[in-house]
């Protein structure tokens, strides 16, 4: 048994996409493996694969069925061909990223006008706004995955004092809104219906189409929030 090998399953999600899953769990070391494997596949593309993206504990690949079939053994389905290639890839050791993850500092204004759920949040968690800011800005979060919306980073984990489930009914959320859902924290890159508890807003553009860096955050990045005033927000 290869010492690098985590248990995994490979299953189709349709007839032109597969997922390789390392367990249905949020776990830092599994997520690290996922990110490394994702970079490995991205750096050494599999013929016929047109899209590859990681999530918490899995990697999904979209492929062109005809191209994969052409490269595979005649009788094998495209799915079987991709599965075999992935199994072979999993036997290869992953190359750990030697560089430290990038630390991105993100300004957040926690004033009520930017935080529609803050009032209720503080009552339920029985903390003051100052305590919430201190707790939310103290942790360095990791981007576990990007999904849901362009550039939406799922970050974790938040201090248990500010863990709070999603709202039962989604509401419209402004671009830049910073929210909490369970142990996760995240930023809405654009206006969207959403169920996360909104506790503040950043003036940074998380998704900026047409600009050089259209998507600010990447899977694996480290993030730290810092508090800014209303005036600083307006001047940003």
């Amino acid at each position: 048994m290869n010492k690098y090998l985590l248990p995994y399953t490979i299953f189709p999600i349709g007839d032109n996409a597969v997922t390789i899953e390392f367990g249905n769990t949020i776990n830092d070391s599994i997520n690290k493996e996922v990110i490394n494997r994702f970079h490995q596949i991205q750096g050494d593309p599999i013929p016929g694969v047109i899209d590859v993206f990681p999530s918490y504990s899995s990697i999904t690949l979209y492929y062109d069925l005809l191209k994969v079939k052409k490269n595979g053994i005649n009788s094998a389905t495209a799915f079987e061909t991709i599965k075999k290639i992935l199994e072979a890839r999993m036997l290869m050791p992953v190359i750990e990223h030697l560089t430290e993850p990038r630390l991105v500092k993100i300004p957040v204004c926690y004033e009520t006008e930017f935080a529609p759920d803050l009032h209720q949040f503080l009552i339920i968690k029985n903390i003051t706004k100052e305590e919430l800011i201190e707790i939310h800005t103290a942790t360095i979060y990791k981007v576990f995955m990007i999904g849901f919306l362009p550039g939406f980073a799922y970050m974790g984990e938040v201090n248990e004092k500010i863990v709070m489930p999603r709202k039962s009914k989604p509401k419209m959320v402004a671009a830049g809104s910073v929210g909490i859902a369970g142990k996760q924290t995240g930023i809405y890159p654009l206006i969207s219906p959403g169920g996360w508890q909104i506790i503040g807003r950043t003036p940074l553009k998380i998704f900026d189409p047409g600009q050089k860096e259209e998507i600010l955050l990447r899977t694996g990045d480290h993030i730290q929030f810092y508090s800014i005033s209303k005036i600083e927000y307006a001047d940003y």
Partner: protein, 332 residues
């Protein structure tokens, strides 16, 4: 071409934007890619070229230069300058010709392809409009009145003075030839990773009942009005990849089928996936229509898809030949 009157949701779409889901950029693209490809092939384009996708009521368009066009997908009863034109034929139009659509005869998404394609910049290697991200396509949004879509000039066009000419060949196929000719379309599904979570009764329910597509259906997904399904475990799913045609089970037991504008990831159980060869029929279904599901497998799904693509290749060869002949004889 100029938009004289806007449609309810006309947008530029192609096969979709792939390779950027790691940034959360969802693929979007045409809802009915098969119909989109046929429409492109009729005018001699690459099957993957960008087209206008329309819903009913569709827009009214005026051509500002001669163009070779085709209308495919849903039949919305198209006319040029008030004269009805057939669906799925190449049509040579002239400057100032006006194209409009009168009533939805069948299907729910129609396509306009223009020879040479639209003169638009790519965003992340695609011309598809990502409506939510307000990017790609034409200004990242649906087409509005007075928008002008630039076309590439036709290299050759007939030397005639009357307005438009319907070319005498057609695609002998459309989206609805893919599925069994039953009153209610039967769509093949392959069981998803969470299929086994369903109770035996719910599994049976899926394949034995006719299921209505609810009014809450759009380019993102179709919500179904099914008898609520039950699962034997309530274990949560961590957000993970999904695809076009994925059927997710919502907490209330109803199903949702993910369509072209689906998000990159989802956290609901993936109980099944509709096979690609049947996406076309699915994309042409309307809110209020009924559908049925039949269990299939990956082998059959791949075979049907390959067959469908071979069919497109044959059509492409035939159309290329006819167009070359046409240009030789009638066009300068």
């Amino acid at each position: 071409m100029r938009i004289i009157k806007e449609g309810i949701l006309d947008s530029i779409q192609d096969v979709g934007r792939f390779g950027y889901q790691y940034l959360g950029i969802n693929p979007t693209g045409a809802m009915d890619k098969y119909a989109m490809k046929i429409t492109n092939i009729l005018v001699g384009n690459l099957p993957t070229e960008a087209v206008i996708e329309m819903h009913f009521p569709a827009g009214v368009f005026m051509f500002t230069q001669p163009a070779l066009i085709a209308i495919g997908g849903a039949n919305f009863s198209p006319s040029i300058n008030g004269d009805f034109i057939p669906h799925l034929h190449p049509v040579m139009v002239n400057k100032n010709d006006v194209l409009q659509f009168h009533k939805p005869v069948n299907g729910s998404r129609a396509y306009i392809a223009v020879a040479g394609g639209f003169f638009l910049a790519d965003w992340m290697n695609s011309k598809s409009t990502n409506l939510k991200a307000k990017s790609g396509g034409f200004s990242g949004r649906k087409l509005l009145k007075n928008d002008i879509l630039k076309l590439y000039p036709l290299k050759k066009y007939p030397d005639h003075h009357h307005s438009f000419t319907v070319l005498p060949w057609k695609a002998d196929t459309n989206w609805n030839h893919q599925i069994e000719k039953t009153e209610i379309p039967v769509l093949d599904i392959i069981p998803g990773n969470e299929w086994e979570r369903l109770t035996e009764e719910s599994k049976k329910n899926i394949t034995t009942s006719s299921i209505e597509i609810s009014q809450q259906s759009d380019r993102m997904g179709y919500r179904l009005n099914n008898i609520p399904l039950a699962t034997s475990t309530g274990e949560e799913i961590i957000s993970t990849g999904v695809s076009f045609g994925t059927i997710q089970l919502l907490p209330d037991g109803k199903m949702i089928i993910l369509m072209a504008d689906h998000q990159t990831t989802g956290g609901y159980p993936r109980i099944a996936h509709i096979i690609s060869a049947h996406h076309s029929a699915l994309a042409q279904a309307k809110a209020g229509d009924k559908i049925r599901f039949r269990i299939s497998d990956i082998e059959t799904a791949e075979e049907l898809y390959i067959k469908q693509q071979q069919h497109l290749l044959q059509l492409q060869n035939a159309c290329t030949f006819r167009l070359q002949e046409y240009y030789k004889r009638f066009a300068k």
